[in-house]
């Protein structure tokens, strides 16, 4: 035994273990502290500055006790609207109280608009809103394939969010007056396979109506937007879903694609297509066993000028 402790192998194991502990200690620390990313958008549709804060992919992460640090920082930033791009909870271990409490606190700061994510969809409808799932339930949907209310299996989360003062947008939109500005905020949560015909009609109408209003679309996934409606007259699209590629390779971007591939195209940041701006959040949390590396949680602040 003494020989083992004196052996080179043990020494290197010790050193390696020490380095690994330091590294994962740092990863754990960096996963508990969020960074802020500021974006500025210029539009003639707004007369006075509008500030929107985007939160996405929390996956029940906590920043301080009861998310105090996150809430107080959001309050300090004085948003006019708060946009949530889905995945506040995690399917399989969904903590409804967490989502309701967080959103309730946010709603006391500014109006909250919630676009559902695939995890919320699983909790509410019993599955992600992909084409197979929706085709299976086509009959239940009836004449309106874009209204998913007949598929609701568990309304606890939806009811909780609504009671907390949150506007949940599922193939729907809401008009908001911010000072002298009029915003139109819409939300979808379908994916590439189900976008047509389960969200497309709503998005077309949303883009075409009220051309003078500044339009914001919350789409949990960025891919269907960029594939099908890039360049539509929607001023701003906000998304999440990819967690910034989970592991970020400096100089290269996100490594892991949420769909199982590598180096996702929309891993985070700002993308322009015609008059449309897409802002993809790297998210605030994560799920699964792979930690976020070189990818601190991100709170997105968007100033519309």
């Amino acid at each position: 035994m003494k020989r083992l402790f004196q052996s080179k192998f043990f020494s290197f194991l010790l050193v390696f273990g020490l380095c690994l502990s330091v590294f994962f200690g740092w990863v754990s620390w960096s996963n508990r502290n969020f960074v802020e990313t500021f974006y500025s958008l210029y539009s003639s549709k707004v007369d006075t500055r509008v500030r929107a804060i985007l939160l996405s992919d929390l996956h029940q992460a906590s920043f301080g006790e009861n998310n105090d640090r996150l809430i107080s920082r959001v309050g300090e930033l004085e948003p006019d609207v708060i946009l949530i791009a889905g995945d506040v909870v995690t399917k399989g271990k969904a903590d409804i109280d967490y989502a309701v409490s967080l959103c309730g606190q946010l709603a006391r700061i500014a109006p909250v608009y919630f676009g559902l994510g695939n995890h919320e969809n699983s909790v509410i409808y019993g599955g992600d809103l992909n084409k197979d799932f929706l085709e299976e339930n086509r009959q239940a949907l009836g004449d309106d394939p874009e209204c998913f209310d007949p598929l609701i299996q568990d309304s606890l989360l939806l009811d909780g969010l609504k009671s907390a003062g949150v506007t949940v947008l599922q193939n729907g939109s809401a008009a908001v007056e911010v000072g002298e500005n009029r915003l139109e905020i819409g939300g979808i949560s379908t994916n590439i396979s189900s976008f047509w015909p389960y969200s497309g009609q709503f998005v077309s109408g949303f883009a075409g109506d009220e051309p003078g209003d500044f339009k914001i679309l919350i789409s949990h996934r960025p891919d269907p937007i960029m594939r099908y409606i890039a360049g539509y007259p929607i001023d701003l699209v906000v998304s999440g879903h990819g967690h910034g590629g989970v592991i970020r390779i400096p100089g290269k971007g996100g490594l892991l694609d949420s769909e199982g591939g590598f180096f996702p195209e929309y891993d985070g940041g700002r993308f322009e297509r015609g008059d449309m701006t897409l802002i993809v959040s790297r998210g605030l949390g994560g799920h699964g066993w792979i930690p976020r590396i070189f990818n601190p949680p991100e709170l997105v602040v968007i100033d519309i000028l």
């Binding site: 740092w26 802020e36 500021f38 003639s44 920082r73 051309p211 100089g251």
Partner: protein, 480 residues
């Protein structure tokens, strides 16, 4: 802490240098070169290698944290001015461009407000931010004069701002400046805020004049934008161009207002015909005096021309140079030309006044037939509302297109770019490698010095005491 982060590289380099120097002194102080060479062959047997590797790894890990943290305390952002007058050192409106405005208190206050930075003041930001031209000219000779259109904003953090993210701070600074620049140099469309309240008390024919003026205001504004700015710009929201709005506005004044005027005159409509008629009669008296005056002036000039025409030179040629310094004879104006021009101007004015008198006479004739004493006319009011609506709609379209054009152009006026920390990965990695490499070399140097001296002590013996000895073959033997 700030000092340690800021000076980490220098501290580590100092430690490395000290270790190397101490090591070198210890190695070469009492050892021959041959002995050092021999010891070098046996260095692989050094017992403290684990400690050496551990210290190097610790420094590597520490550097992996410290170097990016130090990099976070530094940063730069580029601002480029992309409009034509920038190369002359001017703002888009022709006033002198001042780069120190990038860090003006107004901008920094906006940065603090936008970022909601706790415990940071404008003075703190002024201490850590600086602006300089990207390419610096010189006033020593004319060849080296250079007016920069690109500026670099640098962030050099200190202990008061070390809790801030440099990239975020720079991003907010340049974006705040861009916002201010766009607001300051975008077109002022307040002239297109039409109000018709003040014409309520006017008589109908005066209202016609007022509406015509408003329509002309829009027409002139749009024509000016089309001529001096862009004739091809099309509004993304309503599809109009400056020219299309100008022609719609002309249609309002030429068709809709004329239709109203025709209705008023044909039907002798007036809110107070007696008052209006007496005003026109009074106006005509003055017009008549002006008419006589212009007629006499015209005649005087014609007389002068006939008096001096034969005596004055028809053409005067003046020797002069053109811009290429080529000699030529320039034909210049002479007195008789001036007389002719003045005579023509007075004749034109006379005609114009005559036409005004005729128009007033026509109105007087029409209104004198009016049976209505006063008050409002329903159809006239209806037509006025239609014209007002049309003008408000046009003014709205005009404001939209001007703002969209201004936004499009102002967006191009200035572009900003912040160097991201993620993009500094390569340079940070190189720094970490370099620092760790230097430290590793110095630690190895020190370790070798310890090894050489220990060997020497052991070789020197301690008076028959049993010692462990390492043979040249590298085997441990007991020696007495």
């Amino acid at each position: 802490m700030f000092f340690f982060i800021d000076q980490y590289a220098y501290i580590l380099m100092g430690i490395s240098l000290l270790l190397t120097l101490c090591g070198a002194v210890l190695i070469f102080r009492k050892n021959s070169l041959l002995k050092v060479k021999n010891s070098l062959m046996k260095f692989s047997l050094f017992k403290g290698k684990f400690l050496v590797i551990l210290s190097i790894l610790l420094v590597l890990v520490l550097s992996c944290f410290m170097v990016p943290m130090k990099a976070g305390l530094r940063g730069k952002a580029d601002i480029s001015l992309n409009y034509a007058k920038a190369s002359q050192g001017l703002n888009p409106n022709g006033t002198r461009y001042n780069p120190s405005g990038i860090l003006s208190p107004e901008i920094l206050e906006n940065v603090l407000r936008k970022g909601a930075f706790p415990d940071v003041t404008i003075q703190d930001l002024q201490r850590v931010l600086s602006v300089s031209p990207k390419v610096q000219g010189s006033s020593r000779s004319e060849d080296r004069y250079f007016i920069s259109t690109q500026f670099v904003v640098r962030y050099n953090g200190n202990k008061d701002t070390m809790h801030l993210n440099g990239e975020t701070l720079l991003n907010l600074t340049v974006e705040s400046y861009k916002e201010w620049f766009m607001n300051t140099y975008s077109d002022n469309t307040s002239v297109l805020d039409l109000s018709f309240e003040e014409m309520d008390q006017e008589d109908y024919l005066d209202i016609c004049e007022y509406l015509t003026q408003k329509a002309k205001l829009i027409t002139n504004y749009m024509n000016r934008m089309a001529s001096y700015e862009s004739s091809s710009f099309r509004s993304p929201s309503n599809g109009e161009t400056f020219q299309s709005i100008a022609s719609q506005s002309t249609r309002v004044s030429d068709v809709m207002v004329q239709k109203l005027r025709a209705y008023l005159l044909e039907n002798s409509v007036s809110k107070s015909s007696n008052l209006y008629m007496s005003r026109l009669s009074f106006q005509n008296v003055f017009y008549y005096f002006d008419y006589l005056k212009e007629g006499h002036s015209n005649q005087n000039y014609l007389n002068a021309i006939s008096m001096y025409e034969e005596d004055m030179a028809r053409i005067v040629l003046v020797p002069t140079f053109d811009k290429d310094y080529q000699f030529y004879m320039s034909q210049t104006r002479i007195g008789i030309d001036d007389f002719a021009q003045e005579a023509e101007a007075h004749a034109n004015d006379k005609t114009s006044i005559s036409s005004s008198i005729a128009r007033n006479d026509h109105i007087l004739r029409q209104l004198s037939m009016s049976r209505q004493i006063g008050g409002t006319d329903e159809k006239a009011e209806q037509l006025i509302v239609q014209i007002e609506d049309a003008l408000i709609d046009l003014a709205g379209k005009a404001q939209t297109i001007v703002e969209e054009y201004g936004e499009d152009r102002a967006n191009q006026y200035i572009s900003v770019h912040v160097s991201s920390q993620e993009g500094q990965f390569k340079s940070n990695a190189l720094k970490v490698c370099f620092l760790t490499g230097c430290f590793a070399a110095s630690v190895y140097c020190m370790a070798f010095a310890v090894f050489v001296n220990r060997q020497k002590q052991e070789a020197g013996g301690t008076g028959g005491k049993k010692q462990k000895w390492i043979s040249p073959e590298g085997k441990r033997v007991n020696a007495t």
